[in-house]
Symmetry: C2
Subunit: 335 residues, 2 copies
C-alpha cells in the first residue's frame, strides 16, 4: 500500500540520441528504478521516432511494474536546438528534424506532461544535481561524442541565453586554419576533438600509409571510421603509436577549449562527459588538465575542478528527470 502511494509520483527521464533512445524511471528523490533502451531509427521520420520514444518509456515503466498514470512528469533531452517553451526541436541535424513538435506529440501518445530541452543542457543539469549534489553553483559541462556540445549552469540554474542557444561550444573556432567541420566552417572544436574528428584523422593517416593495430580490429570490408571509441582504448593499451598520437592531439585541443571557456565563463567546476570521455578518460584527462592549466590565464583556474563525469551515459536520463521535476515545480509555483 505504501509502495503504491509512493509510485504515483515517479518521474521519467529520456535521453534521445541520433542512434539510441534511453528512458529511465526515477523516484521524486531522483533514485533510479529502471531503464530501457531502443534504437532511434531516425531514418523512419519524426512520427515513427516519437512512437519509439513512447514505446521505450512504456517498456521502462513496465519493467518497474508501473503505468503512465503513475508518472507525474517526463523530461527529455534532444540532440539539437530546442525551444523549451513551445516544446519544439527547432533543428536537429542528427535526426533530420526541423520545428518538430516533440512535446505535443509525446503528450498526446502518453498522456503525461512532457518537458523538452537540449541534450547537453539536460546532461549538465543531471551532473549538477545528481553527481555534484548542488554543491557547486557554476558548472560547465563539455560532452564529447560524435559531436561536441556544452551545458552551462550559472547560480544553480541552466543558462541558455537570449535565443536559448548558449553552450554551443562545439563550434567554437580554435584553429582557424584547421580541418573542415561538418558545419561548413574550419577549425571548430568539434572538427578537432570529437569522435568523428579522431577517426577522420586516423583514416587519413592510414590512407597515407601509416601503420596501426586498428586495422587488425577491422572485419573484412570494414573501414577505420566504423570502429568505436572502445577500439581506440584497446589500441592504446596495446601501445599503438598512431592512435596515441591522434588521441594526444585531440586531448590537447580539448585542453585549449577548456582554457578558452574557463577564461570566458569562469566556472567553478568543468565536467567532461560523452562517449569519447567515457571510453578514454584515463588516457585523455591528464593531458586535458595539463594543457588547460597552461592555456588558462593566471588566477582563472584557482580552486577550479576539471573532472570527468562519473555518470557516463546515464547523465542524460538523470538530467532529464531533474528537468521534469524542476519544470513541474515551476509550473506549480507559476501556474
Amino acid at each position: 500500500m505504501k509502495a503504491e502511494t509512493f509510485n504515483r509520483e515517479v518521474i521519467v527521464g529520456v535521453d534521445l540520441g541520433g542512434t539510441k533512445i534511453l528512458a529511465g524511471i526515477f523516484t521524486p528523490q531522483l533514485r533510479f528504478l529502471q531503464s530501457s533502451k531502443l534504437n532511434t531509427k531516425s531514418e523512419r521520420g519524426f512520427d515513427a521516432v516519437v512512437q519509439r520514444i513512447a514505446r521505450c518509456v512504456l517498456d521502462a515503466l513496465d519493467a518497474a511494474d508501473l503505468t503512465p498514470n503513475q508518472v507525474c512528469a517526463l523530461g527529455i533531452g534532444a540532440p539539437g536546438a530546442v525551444n523549451p517553451r513551445k516544446g519544439e526541436v527547432i533543428f536537429a541535424p542528427n535526426l533530420a528534424w526541423e520545428n518538430a513538435p516533440l512535446q505535443k506529440e509525446l503528450e498526446r501518445l502518453l498522456g503525461i506532461p512532457v518537458f523538452v530541452e537540449n541534450d547537453c543542457n539536460v546532461s549538465a543539469l543531471g551532473i549538477y544535481e545528481v553527481e555534484l549534489q548542488r554543491k557547486h553553483q557554476n558548472i560547465l559541462g563539455i560532452f564529447i561524442g560524435t559531436g561536441i556540445g556544452g551545458g552551462i549552469i550559472l547560480d544553480g540554474k541552466l543558462f541558455s541565453g537570449f535565443n536559448r542557444t548558449a553552450g554551443e561550444i562545439g563550434h567554437m573556432v580554435i584553429d582557424a586554419t584547421g580541418p573542415k567541420c561538418r558545419c561548413g566552417r574550419s577549425g571548430c572544436f568539434e572538427a578537432l576533438a570529437s569522435r568523428t574528428a579522431i577517426f577522420r584523422e586516423l583514416a587519413l593517416r592510414v590512407a597515407e600509409g601509416e601503420k596501426t593495430l586498428l586495422t587488425e580490429l577491422l572485419q573484412p570490408g570494414e573501414l577505420i571510421t566504423h570502429l568505436k571509441s572502445g577500439d581506440l582504448r584497446k589500441a592504446l593499451r596495446l601501445g599503438d603509436k598512431l592512435t596515441e598520437r591522434v588521441i594526444k592531439k585531440s586531448a590537447e585541443y580539448t585542453g585549449i577549449a577548456v582554457a578558452n571557456l574557463a577564461n570566458i565563463l569562469g566556472p567553478e567546476v568543468v565536467v567532461l562527459g560523452g562517449g569519447v570521455m567515457d571510453a578514454l578518460e584515463n588516457e585523455m584527462m591528464p593531458i586535458i588538465v595539463e594543457i588547460a592549466q597552461k592555456y588558462a590565464m593566471p588566477g582563472v583556474l584557482k580552486g577550479v575542478q576539471i573532472i570527468a563525469s562519473s555518470l557516463g551515459d546515464q547523465a542524460g536520463i538523470n538530467g532529464a528527470a531533474v528537468l521534469g521535476r524542476q519544470r513541474t515545480k515551476e509550473k506549480l509555483m507559476n501556474p
Copy 2:
C-alpha cells in the same frame, strides 16, 4: 542654494589605463559634469600612480567647482585582474602591479568611498546603463585596443564568475597555429586583432619589403609600431593596400571571435569598443558583422544586435560612475 544641495551627491568615475588616467564627475542621475586627464606614468610605481589618480580626481572636481566632501562615491576601472571585495588589483601587467591595495590607498588620500573593478567590466556596465539605457539584459562588451578584453552583463548584472575573472576573451585561442601572444601562448584573439597585433603584422610586411603609405607618415627614426590607430584610418582613406589587407584580416578574426562568444554565451547585444574600434569603426564593423553571421550557428544571432559603442573612450568613466552608484546602493541595502 538648490545647486549646492544637489552637488553634495556627485559620483566620480575613473578610468585607469596603462598610459592615461581619466576622471569624470557625474550627477547621481549619471549626467556628465566635468572631466580631467593625466598621464599615468606607471614607471614611477604604485604610490606615485595613486597620487596621480587623486590629483586627476581633484582637478576634475575643481573644474566643476566641487570638493571631495561633495562626492558620495568613486568607482574606478583598472586594467587587470581585480578583487572587488578587497578593492585590490591582483595583477596588472600594463602597470606592473601585483596585489596593489588601490581602494585603501585612494580612500586614504581622498576620504571618499572607493569601489574597484576590472576596466572592461566597468566599460560594459557603462554601455549597459548609459548607452543602452538598461533596455537589454544580456550584453557582451568586446574592447579592442593595445590588448583585448571583455565584459559580460547577464540579467542586468555584471557577471564575473567563480574567481571573478570571467570575460577574459582576449586570450581565447582562435588560431592555435597562429602568431605568438604576449601571454606566451599562440593564436589568442589579442595576438590576431589588437592594435599590437595589427602593427606587428604591418611592421613584418614592411620588413619583408612591402610598400605602404604608412612609412610616409613616420617621423625620422620612428618605427611603424609607433603609429596610432588614427594613422591606419588615414592610410585606409588614401587607399593603402597593405593597411587594407591587414585591417581586413584583423576584422575577420574579430568576426570569428564574436561568433565564438555568441555561440557560447548567447548574448542579446554585442557591443564593440576600445581605441581600435573608435578609430576604425566604419572600416571594420561591416566585415565583423558579416563574418560573425557566417560563423555563428543557426539561430544564435537571431534578433541580436552587433554594434560599435557610441560612448568611445567615455565608456570607462561612465561605467565607473555606474559602479560607484551601484555599489553605494548595495552597501546601503546590506550594510
